[in-house]
Amino acid sequence: MLAADTPLPSLDTPPAGTPRLAGDLAIWIFILAELLAFGAFFAAYAFTRAHHIELFTHEQQALNRITGAINTMLLLTSSYFVVRAVQAAERSAPAPCARWLVAAIACGVGFIVIKLHEYSAAFERGVTLSSSPFHMFYLSLTFFHFMHVLLGLVILSALWLGARAGRYRPNDMNGLESGAAYWHMVDLVWLVLFPLVYVIH
């Protein structure tokens, strides 16, 4: 248990000179919790797969790796655009910052469209949460991630509005960096999820 006299890192801006955390500590606590949730789900996937290796390998073949790969590219690209947006804000260039964010949002929307297409194909094949253990994990993991992409897009849109209003400046990057960190987390999770569920057998 924590002793009352050992204060934790504060949620305030740290004093100058100390190493700086990009974004707010609060968002990092949240990201950590999100990663734990995905981590627990990934572990459960690995555990169940070990008991049904043939079933998992067989049903994995039915997934569309091409669209999965395109989606990976889309998320990676959007993360790159978000980096450019942050860099633009650091140069006090709000207009390019907003444009990079629009590009990132467009990639995210592309991901959503492709994913919806993939889901409708899967539902036509009769994939449900109860049709097999693999299908359960495939739908649960990708849908949970899908919801995070949607939330990420809401956050990016809020950042875009903020950028257009010129809210982010070299000495006031907290909001932009926090949102960017969240979007990178969404990307990172997909980079684990895609090989794990679609590729590795």
Partner: protein
């Protein structure tokens, strides 16, 4: 106090403590019935005592939440309460309806009560925790709506803060999810499925928002830490609560006839439910250690820290203990559940309401804090009740582990009742610790009547 209409909180707090005493007395009766099966039979059968024990808990916590909201909202909104008269009228309606319901439970056979109160019009009775007659349920909705109207109007006409918004979200959620108590499908699976929308989404969802808001309010007051810092923590905590708690409902869906995927969803998400509680513990200690003032009410600070620790232990740790589907397969519905239930309710909701009362009651009585002498007695009450609940939980956990072993794992499993005979000693120990809890409660109440040098009403 800063706004004179905050005074309507006082009767709510007094009623809450009064009903709390009733809850504990019925707990002791039941505890004795565990070991002396026909104690008070047939006057108060076990199932009736249990119903009164749990229903009183819920009702007094609701009184506590309402009183807390009536105290908190005017101060946060920086304006008088929309209608103090409405608040007082609702107080009497709720108290009389609650008392009549309990009298009905005790004086009439349950089936007669059901017949008299229109259960054949819309059957909602007979389900654990939702045993209230239809008219009482309707009354709860009316009181809740009038209450929500009152505090929402107050927030709307005044300053809007994160704390009052989170509190409103929690209280509206409480009212909305209670509506599922009117839905009672014939299909037992569906019935249980939606029953949890009241029970789980209350205590592991919207009530946690209320808890977070009340704790944040008291911490701002007693520590003087910047509102901005405290609100940021509050946002993190409620987000974590909702992310883990909502899908975490799945940990009740393992063995009731729902699809198998709930075992995964329930296990994964509910395994993370301790995180917001841990954040709450860190929050409380961190804020107190960074305090900018020494508030004269040290008892309230103790309750705030106690809430942080005990809610994490009771709701977080003891919940995690049996939340994973493969574990719950063996522990479902055993004394492990009872152990978790006792410490979680005490640590999270009882303590936060007593924390609010501890902070607000001296101010409502015209002083910043009680005399040192009264505070010392209150802290004795705190420690007696808290230590008692820890031991009640440990004894029930011991009983539960043995029960699981003897009845469900052993190569030669015993029947339910034969198992109960084997674990009787734990029930005796639990009963005696229950007596200790009652003593703690009496000491706590006595602290309200102790004079001495009061602290000036300037803080």
């Amino acid at each position: 106090m800063q706004y004179k209409t905050q005074a309507v909180a006082k009767p709510y707090f007094i009623a809450a403590i009064g009903l709390f005493v009733g809850q504990i007395l019925f707990g002791l009766i039941m505890g004795l019935q565990y070991v002396i099966g026909d104690f008070l039979f047939p006057a108060i059968p076990f199932n009736i005592a249990r119903m009164v024990h749990t229903n009183l808990l819920i009702v007094w916590l609701l009184f506590g939440f309402m009183g807390s909201a009536y105290y908190l909202v005017p101060e946060e909104s920086e304006t008088e309460l929309f209608s103090p008269k409405l608040a007082l009228v609702m107080f009497w309606i709720f108290l009389v309806a609650g008392a009549l319901t309990v009298v009905g439970y005790l004086a009439l056979p349950y089936a007669t009560l059901a017949k008299l109160t229109g259960n054949d019009l819309l059957a909602t009775m007979g389900r654990e925790f939702l045993e209230q007659p239809l008219i009482t349920k309707v009354g709860i909705v009316v009181v809740a709506l009038a209450f929500l109207f009152n505090i929402t109007m107050t927030v709307l006409k005044g300053r809007k803060t994160a704390i009052s918004m989170v509190l409103l979200l929690g209280l509206w959620g409480l009212a909305v999810f209670f509506l599922f108590s009117f839905y009672n499908p014939d299909n037992l699976v569906l019935d249980k499925f939606y029953w949890w929308w009241v029970v789980h989404l209350w205590v592991e969802g919207v009530w946690e928002l209320i808890l977070g808001a009340l704790l944040a309010f008291v911490l701002i007051k007693v520590t003087g830490v910047d509102r901005e810092v405290i609100e940021k923590w509050l946002y993190v905590i409620i987000t974590l609560t909702l992310v883990t708690g909502v899908i975490g409902t799945g940990h009740h869906y393992y063995w009731i006839g729902t699809p198998e995927y709930w075992q995964w969803w329930g296990s994964v998400f509910s395994a993370l439910e301790p995180i917001p509680f841990f954040a709450m513990t860190v929050f409380a200690f961190n804020m107190v250690s960074r305090r900018r003032r020494e508030h004269p009410n040290r008892a309230a600070t103790l309750w705030a820290l106690g809430t942080g620790v005990m809610s994490f232990l009771g709701a977080g740790l003891w919940g995690f203990l049996h939340t994973l589907a493969p574990v719950n397969y063996y522990t479902h519905g055993t004394q492990i559940t009872a152990a978790h239930g006792h410490m979680a309710f005490y640590g999270a909701y009882v303590m936060v309401v007593l924390c609010m009362i501890s902070y607000a009651m001296p101010i409502l009585r015209g002083r910043a804090a009680n005399s040192d002498k009264a505070q010392v007695v209150e802290m004795w009450g705190f420690w007696l009740m808290t230590v008692a609940i820890v031991f009640i939980t440990l004894f029930l956990t011991g009983a539960g582990i043995l029960q699981v072993w003897l009845q469900r794992i052993s190569a030669t499993p015993l029947s339910y009742m034969a198992t109960q005979d084997q674990i009787m000693v734990f029930y005796w120990l639990r009963e005696w610790t229950g007596v200790m809890f009652l003593i703690g409660l009496v000491v706590y109440i006595a602290s309200f009547f102790i004079g001495g040098d009061k602290k000036a009403a300037t803080a």
